[in-house]
C-alpha cells in the first residue's frame, strides 16, 4: 500500500472576496482597482486621529445576499470589532472586522466530488471586514513601498468547516464560490488581481484517527489551480515529514508558484495576538426581517437552481446545464432565449456550438455578442420549420446575420436563395428526374441493394442545388422506389 494512502487530509478554506462597491467599507474613498498609488485615500483610510468611520450600506446588502444564497442564518444584531496588529500597510493599527457577531452563520456550499457525487460543505461563518493596503517588497532595494489604495476596501470572509478531503474538492469548492459571487454581482472573482483570495488550512492524520494533525495555513495562491497545487504539495510534505519520523510544525506558509512549493513565513511577524475588542466608533447594525425579505425578493435565480431547472424541466444533459450556468451572462442570455423558443435542446446546442465558437474566435463575452436572443430563436424556427438545414443555418445564415444583425434570418435565407425545397410536388419532379438517370441502379435497389438510396439522394441534392429538404426528399424517394 502506498504510504500516502494511509493518511487522510482535512482542509478548511478561508476565502476573502472583495466587494464590487464604489466606495470603501467605512469611508467614501474610491474602491476601484488599478489607480495611481495612494490616490484613493482619505483621512480615515490613513488612520488620522480624530476621524470617524461610517459603514457602507452596500456591504450589508451584499453580505445578506451572499448569506441567503448560501442558506446561512443572517445575524440580526451586528457589531464590529477591532483586530489589532501592527503592520505598515494597516495605518490605523487595527482592522475593522466582526468577531463575535459574524453577519452570516452556518450555511453550505454543494460541490461535486471526483465521482460526480454531490457533497455538502458546511460553512462556519461569513463576516464583513476591510482590506489592508499593499506592501511592495521587491521594487526598491532598501525600503518597502506602501500603497494604501486598497486599505479599507470592503471584504467578506467566507470560512468553511474543515470538511474538504483533498485538493480537488478545494478546487471545486472555490470554483463554486467564484461562480456564485459573480452570479450575485457582488465580486468579480478575479484571483490574479486579488479580488478573490484564498487561505487554506491543511492537516493530515492517519485514516480513522479522531484527532486532526497539526494545521498549516497556506497563503498567496493567485489562481484556483495554484490553490490545488499548494494543497497537494502540503499534503505530500506533511506525510513525508511524518513518515520520516518528524512532526509538522504549526505554521503559516506562502506558495511559490514558480517552484510549486511552499515556504515558511514563520517569524515573529506572525505572532497571533489580535486582542479583539468591540469597535466603539461604529454603532451596531440591526438587520430586520423586512430587510432580509426585501433582499431575498431581488435575488437572481442561482446557478444551482438554473442547473436543476435545465436538467429537470428542459431535459438537458449535465454537461449542457453546467455550461449554461457557468457564467451569469451566459445563463441570462439562455434564459432570454428559452422564453422565445421551446426547442430547448436546439437552443442549448446553438449556445454551446456556433455561439460559443463565435465568442471564442473573437475573444468576446456574451455581453458583446451582436445577436439578440430573438434573432437566434428565429434562426432555430427556420430550421424547425424545415426551411433550411441546420448546417446552412449555422454556416451560412449565422455569419450573414452577424454582419447584418438588423436583418431577419428568413430574409437572409430568401436573399441568399437558401430556402429548402420541401414542396412535395416540386421534389417529386426532381426525384423522378434523378431516378430516370439511373434505371440500372433502380433495378439493383429493387433487388435489395438499398444502400443505393444515398446515391439517388445525392443526385436530388445536386438537381436542387442543395436546397431539397433531405428529410422530406428521403421519404418521397423511398415511396417512389417502392412503387
Amino acid at each position: 500500500m502506498n504510504i500516502y494512502d494511509k493518511y487522510e487530509t482535512v482542509i478548511g478554506l478561508e476565502v476573502h472576496i472583495q466587494l464590487l462597491t464604489n466606495s470603501k467599507a467605512y469611508s467614501s474613498d474610491s474602491a476601484e482597482y488599478g489607480a495611481l498609488p495612494n490616490t484613493h485615500v482619505s483621512v480615515i483610510t490613513l488612520g488620522h486621529p480624530g476621524t470617524l468611520p461610517k459603514a457602507n450600506k452596500k456591504v450589508i446588502e451584499y453580505a445578506v445576499r451572499l448569506g441567503l444564497a448560501l442558506n446561512c442564518t443572517i445575524t440580526r444584531e451586528n457589531m464590529y470589532a477591532r483586530k489589532n496588529y501592527f503592520y505598515a500597510d494597516l495605518p490605523k493599527g487595527y482592522q475593522i472586522t466582526q468577531d463575535k457577531t459574524p453577519i452570516c452563520r452556518g450555511g453550505h456550499i454543494t460541490i461535486k466530488d471526483k465521482d460526480g457525487n454531490e457533497r455538502v460543505i458546511h460553512l462556519t461563518r461569513i463576516h464583513m471586514e476591510e482590506d489592508a493596503g499593499k506592501s511592495i517588497h521587491d521594487q526598491d532595494p532598501f525600503d518597502t513601498l506602501i500603497d494604501l489604495n486598497r486599505a479599507g476596501v470592503a471584504l467578506l470572509e467566507i470560512v468553511s468547516e474543515p470538511e474538504l478531503k483533498n485538493a480537488d474538492e478545494a478546487y471545486s469548492y472555490l470554483s463554486e464560490v467564484r461562480k456564485l459571487v459573480r452570479h450575485l454581482d457582488i465580486c468579480d472573482g478575479n484571483m490574479e488581481e486579488g479580488s478573490l483570495r484564498c487561505d487554506a488550512n491543511v492537516s493530515v492524520m492517519l485514516k480513522g484517527s479522531k484527532t486532526f494533525g497539526r494545521r498549516v495555513e497556506v497563503k498567496n495562491m493567485n489562481s484556483i489551480r495554484n490553490v490545488k497545487l499548494a494543497i497537494e504539495h502540503e499534503i505530500k510534505r506533511h506525510i513525508d515529514l511524518i513518515e520520516a519520523g518528524g512532526t509538522v510544525d504549526q505554521d503559516t506558509r506562502s506558495f511559490d508558484a514558480s517552484k510549486g512549493t511552499t515556504f515558511s513565513l514563520r517569524s515573529k511577524e506572525m505572532a497571533n495576538d489580535y486582542r479583539y475588542f468591540p469597535e466603539p466608533d461604529l454603532p451596531p447594525v440591526i438587520v430586520s426581517v423586512d430587510y432580509i425579505e426585501k433582499i431575498r425578493s431581488t435575488m437572481p435565480a442561482l446557478p444551482d437552481e438554473l442547473f436543476n431547472k435545465y436538467k429537470k424541466e428542459l431535459h438537458l444533459s449535465d454537461y449542457d446545464a453546467s455550461f449554461l450556468t457557468e457564467s451569469k451572462t451566459i445563463a441570462s442570455y439562455f434564459e432570454d432565449l428559452i422564453q422565445k423558443t421551446s426547442n430547448y435542446k436546439a437552443a442549448a446546442n446553438w449556445m454551446m456550438g456556433t455561439v460559443k465558437n463565435y465568442l471564442n474566435e473573437n475573444a468576446i463575452t456574451i455581453d458583446q455578442f451582436p445577436l439578440p436572443a430573438h434573432q437566434l430563436s428565429a434562426l432555430i424556427k427556420l430550421v424547425d420549420d424545415g426551411k433550411v438545414s441546420s448546417s446552412v443555418a449555422s454556416q451560412t445564415i449565422f455569419p450573414a446575420l452577424i454582419k447584418d444583425p438588423g436583418q431577419t434570418p428568413l430574409k437572409i435565407a430568401e436573399t441568399l436563395n437558401l430556402i429548402q425545397e420541401s414542396n412535395t410536388g416540386a421534389l417529386q419532379e426532381l426525384i423522378k428526374e434523378a431516378l430516370q438517370k439511373y434505371p440500372d441502379k433502380v433495378l439493383e435497389y429493387k433487388n435489395g441493394k438499398t444502400g443505393l438510396i444515398g446515391h439517388f439522394m445525392g443526385e436530388v441534392m445536386k438537381l436542387s442545388k442543395g436546397k431539397a429538404d433531405p428529410k422530406v426528399a428521403n421519404e418521397l424517394m423511398k415511396k417512389e422506389l417502392e412503387k
Binding site: T21, N22, S23, S28, D29, S30, A31, E32, L36, P37, N38, T39, V41, S42, V43, L46, K54, A55, N56, K57, K58, I60, M79, N84, Y85, F86, Y87, A88, S135, I136, H137, D138, D140, F142, D143, T144, L145, I146, D147, L148, D256, F263, K268, E269, A271, D273, R275, P278, P280, L282, P283, P284, V285, I286
Partner: protein, 100 residues
C-alpha cells in the same frame, strides 16, 4: 497587591507594538503599567455582575452611508505626513527579506 505586569509582559507588548526599549526603560514601564492597573482596579470594587458592558456612547443603530465615492484629499496631501516617501509611495523599512 502583587504586580500583574512583569518584564515578560512588557516584552510581549513591545513586540506587538513593534517598539524597542532598553533595560532601564523596561523597568520603568513595568512600574508605570502596574500603577495604571492598580488605578483601574479601583473600579473592580463595584459589583457589576448585572451590568451589561458599555460599548457605545449612544443607542443609535444603523448609522450607514450610501455607497457614493468621494475624493477628499490628493495624493500629495496623502503623502504629506509620511516620514519617508517618494512621489507615489510611502516608504517603510523592509519588513521581509526577499531571500526565500
Amino acid at each position: 497587591m502583587s504586580p500583574k505586569i512583569d518584564k515578560d509582559t512588557v516584552d510581549r507588548l513591545a513586540h506587538l507594538a513593534r517598539l524597542e526599549f532598553n533595560e532601564t526603560e523596561k523597568a520603568e514601564l513595568v512600574q508605570n503599567m502596574n500603577r495604571m492597573l492598580v488605578f483601574v482596579d479601583k473600579l473592580n470594587e463595584l459589583n457589576t455582575d448585572k451590568v451589561e458592558p458599555l460599548i457605545y456612547m449612544c443607542d443609535e443603530v444603523n448609522i450607514l452611508r450610501e455607497d457614493v465615492m468621494k475624493v477628499t484629499i490628493t495624493q500629495k496631501e496623502a503623502l504629506m505626513n509620511a516620514p519617508q516617501k517618494d512621489s507615489d509611495y510611502i516608504k517603510v523599512p523592509k519588513v521581509v527579506d526577499n531571500k526565500k
